[in-house]
């Protein structure tokens, strides 16, 4: 019974407007208020900061806010605390971003990092302004809905004479059919969580090591292959992706060379490695990509530092 007002409500309170916040609990919108002012949500918080032009972002003591937040989270039940925490991390990260931007010497934009930071700032503002526009529209829509709320649509209900008008119902459903339908409906509800399911990404574990070995063999034999040829037999998109990653690994190991005449053109791969096995490359790639049972999606970041070195 979290939000009783949301069950189909002929809730009398609805008329008095007491349930204006009824959907709130469905979001990760935080009940936590920063002591700076009463903010309610990441973008709201940021908009508030911008609106109060005198407020210096650099003066917001993130540590203090964090202390308060942790105290607040302790009062929550587990699931809610998790939601709110991730929300808070988002806000805090954005705040840190803004602090970073603010602390940069604005007049002398020279380094790549400065430009990147400025671009990030522009992007942030573009998003904020876009959100602001939608927020204003939402207010207008709310006003329109409120103005319209006093009108109720005619619902025809059951017409005493109307039953005879309907064509005779063709009925060939059995009680067993109904049972099956009910079970499917009830089960589906359990099976479909709100989150995007990631299970399917893990379904087929594709092994980078094996794919690299297979491509090495193919390239050694042919000397030169197009990427299309290399992925010709791939049974899924995931295999294509993994083979591409494998090629990058081989390239790093200087076992292959790439040639692409035009952007988006055919990628030609030429074997340039020694006759000997590139066992090192295979091991390293396997360590980076294949560990953790085909968890290909998660590995892209963890492998980052070692390759940049």
């Amino acid at each position: 019974m979290v939000e009783p007002a949301l069950a189909e409500t002929a809730d009398p309170a609805a008329d008095q407007g007491h349930v204006a916040l009824d959907d709130q609990g469905q979001e990760i919108r935080s009940g936590f208020t920063v002591s700076l002012d009463g903010f309610d949500g990441p973008f709201d918080l940021l908009l508030g900061l911008i609106a109060k032009r005198r407020m210096d972002v650099t003066k917001v003591a993130l540590a203090e806010v964090t202390e308060e937040f942790i105290a607040y989270v302790r009062t929550l039940e587990a699931q809610r605390a998790l939601d709110e925490s991730s929300n808070f991390v988002f806000v805090a990260a954005t705040l840190l971003d803004m602090k970073l931007v603010q602390l940069l010497p604005g007049s002398q934009v020279e380094s790549e990092d400065d430009i990147a930071a400025l671009e990030a700032r522009d992007l942030l503002f573009a998003r904020l302004l876009q959100y602001k526009a939608f927020k204003q529209i939402a207010d207008q829509m709310g006003a329109a809905a409120a103005e319209n709320a006093g009108r109720f649509a005619r619902r025809p209900g059951a017409h005493p004479d109307m039953a005879n008008l309907l064509p005779e119902l063709v009925w060939n459903t059995t009680a067993e059919d109904l049972k099956a339908l009910a079970e499917r409906a009830l089960a589906r509800r359990q099976a479909e969580p709100d989150e995007v399911g990631l299970a399917h990404l893990h379904a087929a574990a594709v092994n980078v090591r094996a794919e690299m070995a297979a491509m090495t063999e193919q390239l050694r034999a042919a000397g030169r292959c197009s990427f299309t040829e290399l992925v010709a037999g791939a049974e899924s998109r995931l295999v294509v992706v993994v083979r591409f990653l494998g090629l990058l690994e081989l390239f790093r190991d200087r076992s292959v060379e790439f040639d692409q005449q035009v952007p988006l053109g055919e990628l030609l791969v030429t074997w340039s490695g020694q006759a000997g096995t590139s066992q090192d490359a295979l091991d390293r790639a396997a360590a980076e990509w294949d560990e953790g049972e085909g968890d290909a999606a998660g590995k892209s970041t963890s492998g980052q530092e070692s390759r940049d070195g």
Partner: protein, 222 residues
């Protein structure tokens, strides 16, 4: 309900000349229109007592208003005191009928041909898969509010529930004491179609499905 508070009414048949219970409504036409508004949008026939409460008038005055509205819709001129008969009003495409102790506007029988052309335009002789699934959920969870069925099916079910009611497979059964939402149950006709004696004879659901309590919790949380 709605007993006359003062009693000493002078102008019989013109409720507006008596003491107005609502501060909002003043004229006779206002009261007529308010009753008309309720009858127009209420989903089921409304009793004079309910109307009396809604417009804060004694029941006998509401009765007079109902008679006036019925006559007006039928295009019958009657002389209401203090009300100038404005020529012969046209007969409306709807009529005000008294059904099972309540009043409601219905389309006039004279236009049955046009109405059925319209209604049949969208009707088929088979229930859609969505309707069947909705029926199945309600059969096992009755009495149940539409919102709970929506929560289970993940889609709005208002339209299909109306179709099923129209088809006589579902009926309303009061309202939820907490939310006030209308509750739905299956009908005797539904059992007849399935060849069952009672709802108890429906095949048992698999025990692995969420219990009724879970459902109610979830539905209200949405």
């Amino acid at each position: 309900m709605a007993e006359q508070p003062s009693g000493n009414s002078g102008a019989q048949g013109n409720p507006a000349l008596e003491e107005a219970g609502s501060s909002q409504l003043v004229s006779h036409e206002d009261y007529l229109a308010a009753v008309e508004a309720v009858l127009m949008v209420a989903e089921e026939p409304v009793s004079p007592a309910e109307l009396a409460t809604a417009v804060s008038l004694p029941q006998h005055q509401v009765q007079a208003l109902l008679d006036e509205l019925r006559a007006e819709a039928d295009g019958v001129t009657e002389n209401w005191p203090g009300d100038a008969p404005a020529g012969a009003p046209r007969q409306r495409g709807y009529e005000l009928r008294e059904v099972a102790g309540g009043w409601r506007y219905y389309s006039r029988a004279r236009y049955a041909e046009q109405v059925s052309a319209f209604v049949l335009g969208g009707q088929t002789s088979r229930l859609s898969p969505a309707a069947l699934e909705t029926l199945a959920v309600i059969a096992y969870r009755q009495p149940v509010a539409r919102s709970a069925v929506s929560a289970i099916r993940g889609v709005n079910v208002d339209g299909v529930v109306r179709t099923l009611v129209q088809r006589g497979l579902l009926d309303t059964a009061g309202t939820d004491p907490v939310t006030g939402a209308t509750l739905y149950v299956t009908t005797a006709e539904f059992l007849e179609r399935l060849g069952l004696d009672s709802i108890e004879d429906l095949p048992k659901l698999s025990p692995h499905l969420p219990g009724v309590e879970d459902l109610e919790d979830d539905a209200s949380a949405v």
